[in-house]
């Protein structure tokens, strides 16, 4: 068994990217993710790879665009305001169908907001923060170990589908330390990049061109339809979620991801002591959203679902779509960097069950 090491979430992200063969990291400091860049600045030059602190977030994402276009694994990381700045580049990368990994260690917004844990970038991440009909695969770890695993998976998923993948955490996951192990991973079977990467002519007659500009409507529509087919495939293949305490019939099912899902687990324990049986759906892919998890419990949950978020209610819309009117959907959230205690969540459950009764 590989040795466990105690690591900060942000540093574990960096090390996981290195394990995944990330050749280039481009970043710009912002709390609470600066340790990702700091870690990469120490490690990458030592192993002959590229670390570059860009002059801005916009520059960093465009450097990722260039590096990904040349066929190497590339990553950038930032926190909410910085991710907003990157949106133009993300849309271009999605349009040019390039693989890369973008890490968002979310902080409270809007605007400069604060630096404490938040999940208020859900819409931006899952519904397209940039322009155009594109999708990011969005992975939401809830522990430092899962960060390590999902960052490595993110590079594989990106290469498999030629699509940018976002790993979304928050300040709590970034700052906390937990034991992690870097497991031996079998190299994934991935398509070759030789067909498209722009790395010089290499004896070919025609240049490979990386582009997202299609001025003829027929061509642009075709490109969009091709991308939609890819997204359908991703929806089919890549959905991930955890079901917690959902084996038997339950009074209520919470839906929560990342940091707050951990606190929900504590709340579920408290409620069990009072004889209230509550389950949890923890989406690991925020896009594609794990609709099928709801099929597993739709008939088992007596009073319905409650989306618990560190936001004013964003994922709850996807929960409503997944429940599709079959069971009531409630919402509980704190925002601005406030993190509810297990008791507050348990009280919200009791209020809603009381109302439902």
């Amino acid at each position: 068994m590989p040795d466990k090491v105690l690591m900060k979430g942000n540093e574990a992200i960096g090390e996981a990217a290195i394990h995944a063969g990330c050749q280039c990291f481009f970043g710009y400091p912002i709390t609470p993710q600066t340790e990702v860049a700091a870690y990469m600045s120490r490690r990458m030059p030592k192993i002959g790879r590229v670390f570059l602190q860009a002059e801005s977030e916009i520059a960093a994402i465009n450097m990722v665009y260039g590096a990904a276009g040349s066929g190497v694994r590339a990553m950038t990381s930032s926190s909410s305001p910085g991710i907003s700045l990157k949106q133009e580049g993300i849309s271009y990368i999605a349009g040019a169908e390039l693989p890369c990994v973008i890490v968002n260690i979310v902080r409270g917004g809007p605007g400069l907001g604060g630096i404490q844990p938040a999940q208020s970038d859900y819409f931006q991440a899952t519904k397209g923060g940039g322009h155009g009909d594109y999708r990011l695969v969005v992975l939401a770890p809830s522990s430092v170990q899962e960060m390590v695993d999902l960052v490595q998976d993110a590079f594989d998923i990106a290469d498999k589908y030629r699509n940018p993948v976002m790993v979304m955490g928050d300040g709590m996951l970034g700052q906390m330390m937990e034991p992690v192990e870097f497991k031996e991973r079998k190299p994934a079977q991935l398509p070759s990049k030789d067909e498209w990467k722009a790395d010089g002519l290499k004896g070919r007659k025609e240049h490979h061109v990386i582009n997202s500009l299609y001025l003829k409507p027929e061509e642009l529509e075709n490109q969009n339809l091709k991308m939609q087919k890819k997204y359908a495939k991703i929806k089919n293949n890549e959905v991930r979620y955890e079901m917690y305490n959902c084996e038997k019939d339950v009074d209520f099912v919470l839906v929560a991801y990342g940091t707050i899902s951990r606190i929900c687990k504590n709340a579920i324990k408290l409620l069990a002591e009072e004889g209230i049986n509550v389950g949890l759906i923890r989406p690991i892919t925020l896009w594609p959203f794990p609709e099928k998890a709801f099929e597993e419990v739709i008939d088992k949950t007596k009073y319905g679902f409650m989306s618990v978020e560190l936001s004013c209610g964003q994922m709850v819309e996807d929960v409503k779509l997944a429940s599709n009117g079959r069971k009531p959907v409630y919402f509980y959230g704190r925002t601005g960097g406030m993190v509810p205690s297990p008791n507050e969540i348990a009280d919200a459950v009791k209020r809603n069950i009381g109302g439902a009764k």
């Binding site: 105690l6 709390t31 604060g114 300040g171 906390m176 937990e178 504590n266 297990p342 008791n343």
Partner: protein, 176 residues
């Protein structure tokens, strides 16, 4: 069952975060589940630095400690902030050289240790945190002293090992 949810709190620079780290390393070596969560950002600018450390053989849900089995405080604002977070019958360890007010709770175990004075007698005020940490593990038995010393050896600065070791052992001794 081993289960401790601990808050260490004091001023920045007192070694608050490292007390938690050494304990977390020791817990990991003892094959407990552990988490270490520091305060960061604006709350640190108000005079307190703190960290939440959980060591348990159950799965860890929230890494935020809201009901502490033990709290170690090294300044007055930390006592004000965390006194009421200790669960009934829990443990509160206070550096009595730095915190002069009395503790209001009478449903918890309060241990007052003049850690600055003892540390100075051992050779350096900088090791007062280790005296309190030594007392904590002696009272809670959450990890054996050997595990903590191993963590100190592997993750601490070599030139301070002997001094830190003396402080940990002294801290355990004064509450024995």
């Amino acid at each position: 069952m081993a289960h401790q949810e601990i808050i260490f709190a004091g001023f920045g620079g007192q070694g608050i975060l490292s007390m938690g780290k050494f304990l977390a390393y020791a817990g990991m070596d003892e094959e407990l589940n552990v988490s270490w969560l520091p305060s960061y950002g604006p709350e640190m600018r108000g005079g307190t630095a703190n960290c939440s450390v959980i060591l348990t053989n159950e799965n860890i849900g929230s890494p935020i400690v809201t009901d502490a089995t033990a709290v170690v405080v090294m300044n007055r604002p930390s006592l004000d902030k965390f006194e009421n977070v200790v669960i009934p019958n829990g443990l509160l360890i206070v550096d009595s050289d730095l915190v002069t007010r009395d503790v209001n709770r009478d449903d918890i175990t309060v241990i007052r240790i003049p850690a600055q004075t003892i540390a100075e007698q051992l050779g350096s005020k900088k090791i007062s945190n280790m005296i309190l940490l030594g007392a904590l593990i002696e009272k809670t038995n959450i990890v054996p002293m050997e595990a903590l010393l191993k963590a100190l050896k592997e993750h601490g600065k070599a030139q301070f090992y002997d001094l830190n070791k003396a402080a940990l052992e002294k801290g355990a001794e004064v509450v024995r």
